[in-house]
């Protein structure tokens, strides 16, 4: 569905990501991971047409995204940003703005259908219960749900998210990720998201791409990408990768420096922490 073909882009003359190619299938939950400054967000911004490619192309169903009219694009692809804008709108008004790409030129009020879609999206994201609250009175988790509801109101096929779980506690992290997975399954949505948290990414993504310095270092299933050799190479940090006993997905454990010294002392110079205890 989404194809990135030799994409090079950046800001001004500064190249941030170079010659990136990847393919996201329809209905896939795809994660972009990588260290700070590796170009994850830049890649996401290129996918959402926020920045134009210097070279290469982003294709949706074989069509170059730059050639799709703005309104049509907004009906297919939608973006959930990290922070919600500071405006005095209620959640319902905010979600209804998501219907904008479907308004006629002479239409000034929402139709019954628009209203119904907004209500359905709020119900789906469990944000119906606070629909009359102003946006700036919401908690972090509620804000994220409202933002996803607005994105869904655009009835997109591709949902792009930039760290939807940043600043959330684990309850809300899991709630948001579970919701997204449900959406992928029930609405056959395709999700591409930037994630910092390797464990969340590993747990929820069907496939993922690990970026380093603007290039794809590894791509594939969580089992392929979340490997201690790969992670250590990219993040320059000693880690232990183990498997979640419930889901069987790999997870990453960090190792503090003094623990590392202790264990080196105990195990001698050849001592090494490795995959699977």
């Amino acid at each position: 569905m989404l194809k990135v073909d030799g994409l090079t882009c950046g800001y001004g003359h500064k190249v941030i990501i170079s010659a990136i190619s990847l393919h996201v299938k329809s209905g896939e939950f795809f994660g972009l991971i990588g260290p700070n400054g590796s170009g994850k967000t830049t890649l996401l911004r290129a996918l959402s047409r926020e920045i134009a490619p210097m070279n290469g192309a982003v294709l949706i169903d074989g069509k170059n995204v730059g050639d799709i009219p703005v309104r049509d694009f907004a009906r297919q692809v939608t973006v959930v940003s990290q922070v919600l804008p500071e405006v005095d709108l209620t959640v319902e008004e905010f979600v209804l703005l998501g219907r904008l790409p479907y308004f006629n030129a002479m239409q000034f009020v929402e139709s019954k259908h628009d209203m119904a879609v907004a209500v359905r999206c709020m119900a789906l994201t469990d944000s119906l219960r606070f629909k009359d609250k102003p946006l700036d009175h919401l908690s972090g988790g509620e804000r994220q749900l409202a933002a996803i509801a607005r994105a869904l109101a655009q009835e997109p096929r591709l949902l792009l998210l930039d760290e939807p779980t940043a600043h959330l506690d684990i309850t809300h992290q899991v709630a948001v990720m579970d919701l997204l997975r449900k959406l992928v399954r029930e609405l056959n949505l395709t999700v591409v998201m930037v994630l910092h948290d390797l464990n969340l990414a590993s747990e929820y993504c069907d496939r993922m791409a690990l970026l380093r310095a603007g290039e794809i270092f590894a791509a594939g299933t969580p089992q392929e990408v979340v490997d201690y050799r790969v992670i250590e190479e990219v993040y320059k940090t000693i880690v232990v990768v183990n498997r979640n006993p419930v889901s069987g997905k790999p997870y990453v454990l960090i190792v503090p420096d003094d623990e590392l010294c202790k264990s080196r002392g105990a195990w001698g110079k050849a001592g090494r922490l490795s995959d699977g205890a």
Partner: protein, 334 residues
């Protein structure tokens, strides 16, 4: 229900506007009671009363309606566009340009050629500034709104300095003319200009409504608006030129009437909410209301002398603004 609330606001403002208009028609050097005004409007009256109402007071009211509405409309749109509650039509330097045009006209004595040259020169000055701002901020094809704002503020300074330069070398007659114009006045305008302004104002209100939803989306920020399918660069260019031209017309015809475009949108946003679908119409009506009311005060408060209307809008508008700031926990939230 939201729409019912909007409708009642509009009805309320229209009724209030009607009342202020009748009040404005009835007060003045020769007082005519409000009831009498209504009767004259409906059935006609003596030739003298007819003349006072239709030839003297009504054109001023109509001009106040048009200019007040336009300034307020331009203010709402600019504040929405820049997402900055301190922006008003005069921030962009357009009024400075118009003032410079008018000052040049007066100093050179061009008004001897015809009364029309004054607004024409104002419009030329405003047009020059618009053109400069547009070209200078569009070099890369992308409008950088903050840059535009800074340019506008700088142009305001430069042109006001140039106007002061002209004033310092002008004869006392010209000086009086410039000062009087700069203080703003709704009186003494040519009737065809008044009619023209009304058409401009109503047309611009209608045109503004084509952008109300896009302005709503813009409140979320440029990126978010683009994600909602708003062709943002195009909208920014159109709205900027639209507001600039509107301001140019207002300033050229009625002089510098400050504060309408800043205060009215603020107060309306607090009262009716920040949805531009109601905000545009409500601000237009309230702007008209505010300016007609201020002008009526200006011409009656120390009658037979007349105060510049800008003095009233500044004092009343500023006081209302301060009051609202103190009692509403701040208006700054756009």
């Amino acid at each position: 229900m939201k729409y019912a609330r909007w409708a009642s606001w509009l009805v309320f403002l229209i009724l209030l506007l009607g009342a202020v208009m009748v009040w404005s028609l009835s007060v003045g050097a020769s007082g005519i009671s409000a009831a009498r005004v209504v009767r004259i409007l409906c059935q006609g009256g003596s030739p003298v009363e007819h003349s006072i109402i239709f030839d003297i007071r009504l054109p001023r009211i109509i001009l106040g309606f048009a200019v007040g509405g336009c300034l307020s409309l331009a203010g709402v749109i600019l504040q929405g566009l820049f997402r900055n509650p301190l922006v008003e039509p005069y921030t962009l330097g357009i009024s400075g340009g118009a003032a410079l045009g008018v000052a040049v006209n007066i100093v050179l004595g061009l008004s001897a050629v015809g009364a029309y040259t004054l607004p024409v020169c104002g419009l030329l000055g405003a047009g020059g500034v618009i053109l400069f701002l547009y070209v200078s901020s569009l070099r890369t094809g992308v409008v950088k709104l903050q840059g535009l704002l800074l340019n506008g503020v700088m142009i305001s300074f430069i042109s006001s300095s140039l106007v002061m330069l002209l004033m310092s070398i002008a004869s006392s007659d010209s000086l009086h003319g410039i000062v009087f114009w700069m203080m703003g006045s709704l009186g003494g305008s040519d009737l065809s200009l008044v009619h023209f302004m009304v058409l401009v104002s109503l047309a611009s209100l209608a045109a503004g409504y084509f952008f109300c939803l896009q302005l709503n989306a813009l409140a979320l920020g440029e990126e978010e608006a683009r994600h909602l399918g708003v062709p943002i660069e195009q909208v920014k260019k159109i709205l900027f030129v639209f507001c600039a031209v509107l301001t140019g017309f207002c300033v050229s015809i009625a002089g510098m009437i400050g504060f309408v475009g800043l205060v009215v949108p603020h107060v309306m946003r607090k009262l009716v909410g920040s949805d531009h679908r109601i905000l545009l119409g409500a601000s237009f009506l309230a702007g008209a209301l505010f300016l007609i009311g201020s002008d009526t005060l200006a011409r009656t408060i120390i009658a037979p002398l007349e105060l510049p209307v800008g003095v009233i809008t500044g004092i009343v508008g500023g006081s209302v603004f301060l009051y609202a700031l103190a009692h509403r926990g701040g208006l700054s939230h756009a």
